[in-house]
Every structure is written in structure tokens, then in C-alpha cells.
């Protein structure tokens, strides 16, 4: 299964992002690029709203979620279904203790909120990453972070609308992004050791 993984972060829900990826036009674009499944980590307290929205969609009757809650690192799968029109599958979980495993084992593309943790998780696993800024947050460095990582060429940044996400997916599928390097940082190691060892032993001058 070619899967998109969407993560809203653990702290606050991000309804606009989930609504956008459930949009028919967005799903059509995803299918155009070969994706046939979407796994979403939606945050706590959003399951009921999601179920209400999903009940309006035309889904198959007997879909059984192929991944267990255990595999997804949560207590229960919040919602899962397959669309009748195009067999596109959707799995939602509120929270996951195994985000990295899900990204590593299942995702070909990650769409993430602009938290530094989620951004680094995806980049370190060398996955394509679209970062979606939640402009409804007060006190907000997320836009700056997204712009910065985009300027460095690691990600594509976009807004939480289906149109912006469709543009994002188009850019990310047709362009090569910069690879995020995770080399050892000897200068910082040196600082740690110098600070720890200089005052007590006098050895490290």
C-alpha cells in the first residue's frame, strides 16, 4: 500500500488539516500520484467530530482495518473505512506511541503540523514531508519554522486547505528535495566534554 501519514501533533487538535485531507479533490490528487491509503494521527478529543464527518461519506460496508491498534501504538483505532468510489483507505488514531515505526514501515509521504518534533521525525527517516502550518494557533513560531525548513530545501510548506495541500503534493512529487544530514557534531561533543571535565580535573586544557 502506498501510504500518506498525516500527523497533527500530540498537544492540540488540528481540525482544518483533517478536513482538508478528507476532501474529495485532495484524495483524487493523492490517487493520481499512486497513493491508496492515508493514516492520520488526529489528536485527542477529535474522534467524535471526525466520525460525524465520515458518516457523510460513501464507504464500503465491511472494511476491516488491516493494522492492529498495537501495531499503530494506540489503545484503539479511532476510525477506519474504505471509499466506495475509488477504494481509497483511511485509518485514524488519536495518539500513537509508535509514530516513528508507522512512518518508517508504512509512509511514503508525511503531512505534518509544524512542530519541530514531527518535522525532525519525518526528515530523519528520509521521508518526503509536507508541513502544514496551523494559523489558528496564538503565540506561534510554526510559520517561521516551516518557512525556515522550506528555505533550506528540506520540505514543502503549505496551509491547511485542500487546495494548498494539492499544490504541495504536486510540488513534492515533481521536485527533489535536499536530504537532511544527521552527521555527528564533534564541536558540540567537544563543548560538552570541555565544560564537564575542565573545572574538576584540569586535564582538559
Amino acid at each position: 500500500m502506498k501510504t500518506i501519514f498525516v500527523t497533527c501533533g500530540a498537544t492540540v487538535p488540528f481540525p482544518d488539516l483533517i478536513t482538508s485531507v478528507l476532501d474529495k479533490k485532495f484524495i483524487d490528487t493523492a490517487i493520481k500520484f499512486g497513493y491508496n491509503r492515508l493514516i492520520a494521527q488526529i489528536g485527542n478529543g477529535y474522534t467524535e467530530t471526525l466520525l460525524k464527518n465520515v458518516s457523510k461519506l460513501d464507504t464500503t460496508n465491511n472494511y476491516i482495518c488491516p493494522l492492529t491498534a498495537e501495531q499503530l501504538g494506540c489503545n484503539e483505532v479511532a476510525c477506519s473505512f474504505k471509499l466506495k468510489a475509488n477504494d481509497f483507505e483511511f485509518i485514524a488514531i488519536a495518539y500513537s506511541s509508535k509514530i516513528e515505526d508507522i512512518i518508517r514501515n508504512h509512509a511514503s509521504l508525511v503531512i505534518s503540523h509544524a512542530g519541530t518534533g514531527s518535522i525532525l521525525d519525518a526528515l530523519k527517516l528520509t521521508k518526503r514531508l509536507i508541513v502544514c502550518v496551523n494559523d489558528k494557533l496564538m503565540d506561534n513560531h510554526q510559520q517561521q519554522i516551516a518557512d525556515k525548513f522550506e528555505d533550506l530545501g528540506y520540505i514543502v510548506a503549505c496551509k491547511a486547505t485542500s487546495a494548498s495541500l494539492m499544490r504541495g503534493i504536486d510540488i513534492i512529487q515533481t521536485n527533489t528535495l535536499q536530504e537532511f544530514s544527521t552527521t555527528r557534531n564533534t564541536n558540540f561533543e567537544n563543548l560538552l566534554i570541555k565544560t564537564a571535565y575542565s573545572n574538576t580535573t584540569g586535564l582538559y586544557k
Binding site: 564533534t186 558540540f188 561533543e189 560538552l192 566534554i193 565544560t195 564537564a196 580535573t201 586535564l203
Partner: protein, 242 residues
Amino acid sequence: MELSVVHWFASGILIISLILSRILFVLPFFRLNESHKQDEQNIPDETIRKKIESLTNNKPLNAFIFLGSGGHTGEMLRLLQNFNEILLKSGAILHIGYSDDQSYQKFQNLVKGKKDINVQYYHFVKAREVNAGLLQSLISITKTLITSLIHIITIKYKMINKPHLVLLNGPGTCCIIALWFKIIDILLFFTSSNIIYVESLARINTLSMTGKILYLFADQFVVQWEELIQVAPRAKYFGILV
């Protein structure tokens, strides 16, 4: 009579100036810039690593690390993971401060397979819960101040005369922790707490509130974006560390 007044006055001035000079010595603002910094950049990585290797083999590192919550904990755990060859090296003695159980769990997951590191845990009470009233806040802040002082004294006692560092990042409790460490440093004349503060990756152009306060106390102030050097000239920049 007059003579004793002069005596008192003189010794008063002497004591005050001693304390002041000690404070100036302990706090980082007036420290001379390390002049050998330039040469160091020419030492090859291999040599530095060998030196680190032999130092940490000879005497294990003692570190106090504070985990806050959510994103701060995430950054600190990634920092520990990225520099595990030093910070989680076998033989290391780690004092872990935490204020929520999730952070405690996550840290335990991180060190699950490592049997040779000695970990001691310290629970810190959160300084203020959201929506707390004024009186409640005052009580909880006092509680935090006292319990954290007891922890810091314990940790300081265990780390003294051993290679040690205090590693802090974003959470507000770090301000209280740094304050206690520095007050103890000022009172005890022969020690430094070696506080290293790493500013959050989310900060590109301005320091966080904790960052602004810790800029006054931390022995080494590290930022993860070069832009911040303009705001905090004493800061050091090594790229993204978390």
C-alpha cells in the same frame, strides 16, 4: 566607640565586595572570551574524539538533565540520543529531573537496553498549573522552590569533585533549577555547576522566556539557528543538535 564603628563599616564593605566579586566570577557576563577558540577549529575530529574517549573512560561523566513536558522533552531525548556516545555512555551517572509521568516513561524507553548507566530520578513539582488562582499559585511556587532546592542540594553534593554538567532546555522549571545551582556556586567558593542551556529549535529570531533568563545564568548558552547570535552574542551555534 568611634573606632569600632569604623571597623564594622570596613568589614561590611569588605564582605560586600567579596560577595560581589564572587557573583561576578560565577555569572557568565564578564568572562573573558576563550582566546584559544580559533586554534581549536583546526584540530581534526579524530583527535578530539580520541581525547573524549579517553577522558570519559577514565572518569565517568555525571550529568543532571531536566525533562519538562511535550516538545521540550522530545528535544532533550533526541539530544541524548544524538550524543549518546557521551551522555548515555556505559558508566555514566545520570540524575534525571522530570515533572510529568509521560516524560519519565519516554526516558525509560530510551535507556531500556542500556544496563551500565546509573540513573537516579527526581520528581519536580510544576511551578504553576494553568488556571490556578493567585493564592494557589503562591503556595505551589513556594512548594516548587523548596522541593527543588532539596533536590538540587542532593544532586550538587553527588556531583561535586566529579566531572559533571547540568543540561537544560526550554521548560520554565529550568529557571528555578539554574537559580539554585548558581546560588550554591556563589556560596561554595570552589565549584561551578557547568550549566549548558540549549535553546529550543522552534526559536529562530527571538529567545524564549526561559532562554532570556538562562542567558544570565548558564555557563554555556547554545542556540540552534545562527540568527539568534545577533540577539544573544555570547551564544554558541553548532547547527541543529536535536
